[in-house]
Subunit: 369 residues, 4 copies
């Protein structure tokens, strides 16, 4: 699993920095015969970069996905699908002042320690533009999963101290989740309901007013999965999902089903009993989050990801420069930053969940003789 590739059978590699010529993704291992076009992918890219508001930094030109290979007459051919998105001409001059400063909460310190070199314009590979490739790969996965009756949605479930009332981990997760994600799909900040939306915005407003930022949480769920996805030992489905989620910039933790709450509970209250539903054996409830022993049960898979507050804040911060001289870190004039990165992370969490499931679905094809 090299640094910039993800997946086993359905595999992709992202490339590009925010100030290079373009960013892109190469998807290798997508089965032939899948209907696909640029419009389908563009829809997810547009969700990733919603129109500017107080809660997401403004966009210039929309990111335009161009499929350069792997699709012929509207259908995938089994060859690598290369998707390229050009970078708009970016003014890298404004970074001159901070080029030599360690940025609190940012990756430039560690990149320098690791590589001895750092593309100081806009964050290098740590740039949010890297996630364009993830979302494009997620869109292709979504197409593949749709054909199997699987749907995946994510929503913003907490901002700062405001929490959306979350679904009890019952079989009803499915129904509730539909209501929540239906609202989230229309919410500018991917909130699950009007109340949460208002609360979340208030949290962001308060932080912004103090030139500060705030953390948040993203919930995700997959419906319609067959039982059997994931492998028993290391390639457990929750392990693959955890790997995916912790690879998203700013994420600090992940949990599945009842998650951390299960750690303080009792076995009799956490186990899901098995029942016979119209001749089908299945768990009665879904506290496990749709997975047992690392393998999907057929019930919805769901979890949550914690995101730290945006590292870039307008308040000046103490730091040092490359030579160790004390300095004050201030964002370059004209910078715009989201008060809460969890908002923008919603489509990325969804994309990573999609790619993991598409991959697991294909891997599972060799489970039986």
């Amino acid at each position: 699993m090299s640094g910039n590739s993800f997946g086993n059978v359905f595999k992709f590699t992202t490339w590009g920095e925010s100030h290079g010529k373009a960013v892109g993704v190469v998807i290798d291992g997508c089965p032939a015969g899948l209907p696909l076009d640029e419009t389908y992918i563009q829809r997810d890219l547009d969700r990733r970069a919603p129109g500017s508001s107080a809660y997401t930094s403004p966009r210039g030109e929309p990111d335009r996905a161009v499929i350069c290979s792997g699709v012929f007459e509207g259908v995938t051919t089994g060859s690598p699908i290369s998707i390229v998105v050009e970078n708009a001409d970016a003014d890298s001059g404004k970074y001159a002042d901070i080029a030599r400063l360690m940025r609190p909460g940012h990756a430039n310190y560690t990149y320098l320690r690791k590589y001895g070199v750092f593309d100081y314009r806009g964050g290098g590979r740590a740039s949010a533009r890297e996630t364009i490739g993830r979302v494009a790969a997620g869109a292709v996965s979504r197409k593949l999963l749709e054909g199997q009756g699987v749907s995946v949605r994510a929503f913003l479930s907490a901002v700062g101290t405001a929490c959306a009332e979350l679904a009890p981990a019952a079989a009803s997760v499915s129904a509730l989740w539909e209501k929540e994600t239906a609202f989230a799909a229309k919410s500018r900040i991917f909130a699950p309901d009007a109340l949460a939306e208002a609360d979340f915005m208030r949290q962001m407003d308060e932080a912004a007013a103090l030139q500060d930022s705030v953390g948040g949480m993203v919930s995700f769920a997959a419906n319609g999965l067959p039982a059997g996805l994931g492998d028993p030992v290391y390639a457990k489905l929750p392990a693959l999902l955890a790997f995916a989620m912790l690879s998203i910039p700013g994420s600090k933790g992940v949990e599945f089903g009842e998650g951390f709450a299960a750690a303080s509970g009792r076995g009799s209250a956490v186990n899901d009993a098995f029942v016979n539903r119209q001749g089908k054996v299945m768990p009665e409830s879904n506290r496990a989050g749709g997975m047992l022993g690392g393998i999907s049960t057929g019930l919805p898979v769901y979890g949550r990801v914690a995101f730290k507050p945006t590292s870039s804040i307008f308040r000046p911060q103490r730091t040092v420069d490359m030579d160790g001289k004390e300095a004050e870190f201030k964002l370059p004039e004209g910078s715009r930053h989201d008060p809460c990165i969890a908002v923008r992370a919603v489509p990325v969490v969804e994309a990573m969940c999609l790619v993991v499931l598409a991959d697991a679905l294909l891997m599972n094809r060799s489970a039986r003789i």
Copy 2:
């Protein structure tokens, strides 16, 4: 990353079921020249299976690690290190009664759905015996890391509603962690201090008295790491660790640094400022958990793993059999189960942290020209 293998450069594969002839691990990619013998590995295996108490199920014969290859005259040769541990003759007869029952919270349902076949004696690959191979691979990693000045320790940080007072995520994590792990190394339940030990035992006693089980949490930390481990995008160090931790049976979540708490905080309070310490640029505090942008900063890497309560409880549970007929699931006569799997998970969390770091250290050798 096939189902039963872990790692990239330092790679291992575990094999074996609890009722087969043996269990084992093959480590491929361990550098040549590392001093290693069976005694060193045995020490970690012994920690994994502490003498019986009310809190861990009793052991029969100790698990004896035999190095079958890859070591010559006390030194690794660069060839695969095969370590085999024989299974004691196990009475598989007692499983006859439950062979056809779905076990709540267990993997036999999903194994059956995936593979169409299940070794019903003792859990198949979901058996805790699979972790023997992990701990043996962890011991080899520990030897490798020791030579680089890196040490890794884990301890039990919560049982049920009892929580050990955790280190504030300051640079002082290092000092506190040493105190905690020194105590944990001697504690029968890997508790960080006497107070926590007593609290944790009480939680387990209460659950056991009710024929029930209880969840828990395991904290881990690595000291002495160089900066630069981990890759910027998918193979981020926290992503690799999350993948490792969620592959441990019973784990339901993981967090790094301030983790989920960071999701409700403000940027100004979560960012670590950079300072000059005797000519060395480094973060002043360590709320980030020793990683920025997915790469180690050189400060201690730490995190926590949540474990659900032991699924096997003595209280009878509702379930169905393979044909969907309603049944009651009762543990076979003479079964012994830990009231809290988090206790036994401590050496496994430690081992998984060790193997991830050894692998990351070797991978990093090709980061620069």
Copy 3:
């Protein structure tokens, strides 16, 4: 692809040295539901080590394959299949004299340069005993392929300057190959017919009489393959097979179909025309060796592997010791060596062909939506 593992979906790792406790293989990725037992594997292991003759060095106790995991009630479970073969107590004392000498044609020089350490008893990982694991993995693959109507056979096609008259690369390869391999299956030296057998033995006798050794060639063919195996670019079927064949100790080259002869031919004479055979479109002839553009056509896949003469010869050879002092290399008293390693390589070539095809078959399951 780490050093001691092979395969992508059907993946195995071999371990062990000739003078360690045992040698073995762990197969990960074998589908569940495959009938398998030790007897089936033992049959291939026995072929690998034919009873002693003038042409193969004598065997002591037969190598006994023990399946330690992954098979339950006679059927694979989807878990890793660990197969262990104990090493007989070997007298490593006889190697003392040559422990410090560079062995012409052997790997101890390069192992020392790479690892700084070398297990001088019997060749370390370069020992022919490593191939036991390959043959065991090949047997499991054979079982898997049999169920799909695929059969694979190899035979000895040349020894020194004696060449078996080879099949013209016509569609008739199939018929001829059956005749040849039927004979080879019974021949002590895997020769394709009585004439070749006599010629080959004469070549070996002549070399042995001069305390020398002789090279040889092994042909292999697979019948009954579906079209579509192999990937278009790097994971071409011939590339995977070439990788496999050149990993066999002593191999110096490989060719497919008309191979090197095609390099001196004309396109009009090398291309295979397409025809309609009872409603099925297929190539009329099979000069291509059953593969076009790296993908199987459905016709037999065949090729040849060249093996150098056995490096260990009884004739004394000039060399130096570790310190660079001139020395004479003489085989230890009581050594027995085959005059032609190609003979023993036949079952190994067959095994490697089997594992590549089993893997390609499983990989191909994700080619289409």
Copy 4:
């Protein structure tokens, strides 16, 4: 090892069809700190597509390599290097006539059988344009290897029945090879000397005159390699090279050192004795091709690749269409094809040798503690 990626640590993925928008390569795992620019890569791309002559089909606009990421201020950053080459507007209309015909010697039959879909314009992934990405990755590898004192060159060593007199496999391979490759670097057809060049051209002229094509061979050699590259068992250096060479379109076989000739020789004549050269222990001769036990000895690594005749010939060929109806396959009007693909394969063989060695060099960094 997914279908369109190559390598382990130094890893690349190529994408693109001849009639899509562009072709390209993403290189992941190139160490940071390597000086690199487009001019350096362009030089190798220009060698790949020499000005039109009777022996290579004419080029239109030169292929222009654009580095889209991974290089900052003239130095690699450790991030993926994405190189894109636009496709000139190609007239795909001319393929209409043959869109439904099976092309003898081509991949469209097998692609259709595998994927059920085929981009009939110009060969899809089997197009020679796919090799642009290989050559670009080779150029980056060359830069990396140059810094370690390693040089790699390939030349055309046979066309049809004309063979360049090849270096005897003595230590002198090095000297001779320099002379040969110096000439080859200037030869329009990469021939090793004037005599061979004339012979080769004659072979091609004769074939072309008959509306036919002819096969050929490409030799390659690497000088200045350290001892120790390659792993003992499956990832042997010759195995990795064989995998690379057989992935090149049209290749039918590969051999190393004395190769197939060794199969008919005696051990006493094939083994290389060890000697002490100015205090350095090394093989006296180099019949082994610079590798023993799969690991480089420090002497030049060399081998040969056999290429079949160009499949596209102007002579009409019998075939059938998708429905099995008999047809005659004639190249579309205005097609231009090389009489011998081995000529154009020379820079590709060189590139694949370069990438294997760069990868092996980086992998070897973790061989010792």
